[in-house]
C-alpha cells in the first residue's frame, strides 16, 4: 500500500479550467460572462491553495474471474462490465484499489449562504480537481509500479457508476483500511465518502489490457461518460474463449 501526494502544476491548472467550464455547461470556445470568469479565476486560485491532494493505492492478485465478478483475496468485485474487461486481459492479472481526495477545505465556500453561482463554480472546481488529482496520483503510481514492469493497466471503474453498485466501496476500504486515516477519508454506512470530494475505484493490471474501459460491453448509448463505442462482438469473443478453455 502506498500514499502519493501529487503536485498541481501549470498543465493541470489549464486542464482544470477547461474541464470546469465543460462541467458547467460551456461549449468549446464559449466565453463565460465576465463576472463568472472572474469568480472562476478566484475559485481556481482558492482551490489550488486549499487542496490537500492525496492518493492511496493497493494491489491484490486476482484469484478468479467470471462474467459477473472478479474474485480477489479481499473480496469479490461485482460488476459484469468490469469482470468482462478482466476476462479479456492477458497474462497474470491483479487489481488496483485506489482512493484519492482533495481534502475537506475546498467546500468551505459551498454553503447555502453563498450566492448560487459561486456555489456552482466552487463545487465544479472541487469535483474536477478531485478527478485531476486522482489521475495525477494514478499516473505517478503507474510510473513506479506498472511502467517499469512492462505491465498494462485499465482506467479506473468507480462504485456507483455503470453497473457497479455503491456498496462495492466496502471492498476498497477493506483493502486500504490501514491507509485511509493517513489520507483522511472515511466511509459511512450508506457508502458515502467524507470528504465528499473523494474518488475511489478499481483498475485491472495485466500483461495486456485490450482496452482501457469496459464501455464496449454497455449498450447505453446516451451515457454522457462513454469513452468507447458499444461493440457486442467483444461479448462473442468472451463466449468463444470460454468455450475453448
Amino acid at each position: 500500500m502506498i500514499v502519493i501526494e501529487p503536485k498541481i502544476d501549470g498543465y493541470l491548472e489549464t486542464q482544470l479550467r477547461e474541464n470546469v467550464l465543460r462541467r458547467l455547461g460551456y461549449k468549446d470556445n464559449q466565453k463565460p460572462d465576465p463576472k463568472i470568469a472572474e469568480m472562476l479565476h478566484e475559485a481556481l486560485i482558492v482551490g489550488k491553495e486549499r487542496a490537500k491532494p492525496k492518493g492511496l493505492f493497493g494491489v491484490l492478485p486476482v484469484q478468479e474471474v467470471t462474467k459477473k465478478a472478479v474474485v480477489t483475496t479481499a473480496g469479490v468485485v461485482r460488476s459484469s462490465y468490469f469482470a468482462r474487461l478482466a476476462l479479456l486481459c492477458e497474462g497474470t492479472k491483479s487489481i488496483l484499489f485506489e482512493i484519492a481526495t482533495v481534502g475537506n477545505e475546498l467546500q468551505k465556500d459551498c454553503g447555502p449562504e453563498v450566492p448560487l453561482y459561486r456555489q456552482a463554480i466552487m463545487d465544479a472546481v472541487a469535483s474536477e480537481l478531485t478527478e485531476i488529482i486522482a489521475d495525477a496520483a494514478e499516473a505517478e503510481w503507474k510510473k513506479y509500479y506498472v511502467d517499469k514492469s512492462g505491465l498494462s493497466i485499465s482506467m479506473r471503474s468507480s462504485p456507483g457508476y455503470c453497473d457497479m453498485s455503491l456498496d462495492q466501496q466496502n471492498i476498497i476500504f477493506n483493502v486500504l483500511s490501514a491507509g485511509v486515516a493517513q489520507i483522511g477519508v472515511s466511509l459511512n454506512s450508506n457508502f458515502v465518502m467524507t470528504p465528499s470530494k473523494s474518488i475511489s475505484g478499481f483498475a485491472v493490471i495485466a500483461n495486456k489490457v485490450p482496452f482501457p474501459v469496459p464501455c464496449v460491453f454497455c449498450p447505453k448509448n446516451s451515457c454522457p461518460d462513454r469513452r468507447l463505442p458499444f461493440n457486442p462482438l467483444w461479448d462473442t469473443s468472451i463466449a468463444i474463449s470460454n468455450a475453448s478453455t
Partner: protein, 211 residues
C-alpha cells in the same frame, strides 16, 4: 414609458445586469408602475433564460439571472408581496434525504421556488426521515420536495412519502436527483418528478392540479 421600463427590467435579467435592473426598477417605481407588473417583468426574463438552459445558457449564467431577479424582488419587497398572488399561501418543505451531503441542486430548486413566490422551508441536507414528516405537519405544507443524488440514499424516499401521505394526505410530493427518473419516482409514490431546474415549476403546477 411604462412598457419601456418593464422591457428593460426583463432585459436586465436576460443580460444578467444587476446595475441595469436597479436603474429600471427605480424608474418603474418612480412612475408608479404596479408592483405586480414589475414582478411579472422580472419573472418573464427568468423564464426566457430558464428555457435556454439546456441548449445554450450554461448553469452559472442562469444562476446569475436568478440572482438579478432575487435582488429585484427583495429591493421592492416584492418577494413578500407576491405571496398574495398565484402561489399565495403555498408552503413547501424542501431538503436532501438522510446521509446525502449533496445540496447544490436542492439550493437551486429552492431559489427558483422562492422567486415564484412559494414560502420555502429549507431543511438542508442529510435530513432524517422523521424531520421531513414533522416539518410538513407543523407547517401544513402543500408541497414536499425531496432530493437525493445517490442510489444508496434515494431509497429513503418511498418511506418518507408513505409517512407523509398517511399523516398529511393532501401534501404533494416532488422528487428529483441524479439517479432518479420518472418511472422510479412514480414507483416511490411521488406526485411529480423534476428532472432539472428547467421543468420543476411546470411539474409542480401539474402536481398541484386538483389540490
Amino acid at each position: 414609458m411604462q412598457d419601456s421600463n418593464l422591457e428593460t427590467l426583463e432585459l436586465s435579467v436576460v443580460r444578467r445586469d444587476t446595475d441595469l435592473m436597479r436603474r429600471a426598477l427605480d424608474n418603474a417605481l418612480g412612475e408608479n408602475i404596479q408592483r405586480s407588473d414589475i414582478r411579472s417583468a422580472l419573472l418573464r426574463g427568468l423564464e426566457h433564460v430558464r428555457h435556454q438552459v439546456m441548449s445554450e445558457v450554461p448553469l452559472p449564467e442562469f444562476l446569475l439571472c436568478l440572482d438579478v431577479v432575487t435582488e429585484g424582488l427583495n429591493r421592492t419587497k416584492l418577494s413578500e408581496e407576491k405571496r398574495t398572488g398565484k402561489n399565495a399561501e403555498i408552503v413547501m418543505v424542501i431538503g436532501v434525504v438522510e446521509s446525502d451531503p449533496h445540496d447544490l441542486g436542492k439550493n437551486m430548486i429552492a431559489a427558483i421556488y422562492r422567486s415564484e413566490g412559494y414560502k420555502v422551508i429549507d431543511l438542508g441536507n442529510g435530513v432524517p426521515n422523521k424531520d421531513f414528516v414533522e416539518s410538513v405537519i407543523t407547517n401544513k405544507a402543500k408541497i414536499l420536495a425531496l432530493s437525493a443524488m445517490m442510489s444508496t440514499t434515494m431509497i429513503a424516499m418511498p418511506e418518507i412519502i408513505r409517512e407523509v401521505k398517511s399523516k398529511s394526505p393532501h401534501t404533494r410530493v416532488m422528487v428529483g436527483g441524479a439517479c432518479l427518473d420518472r418511472s422510479l419516482a412514480e414507483s416511490y409514490g411521488a406526485d411529480g418528478y423534476a428532472e432539472s431546474a428547467v421543468t420543476v415549476l411546470e411539474e409542480t403546477e401539474a402536481a398541484l392540479q386538483g389540490f
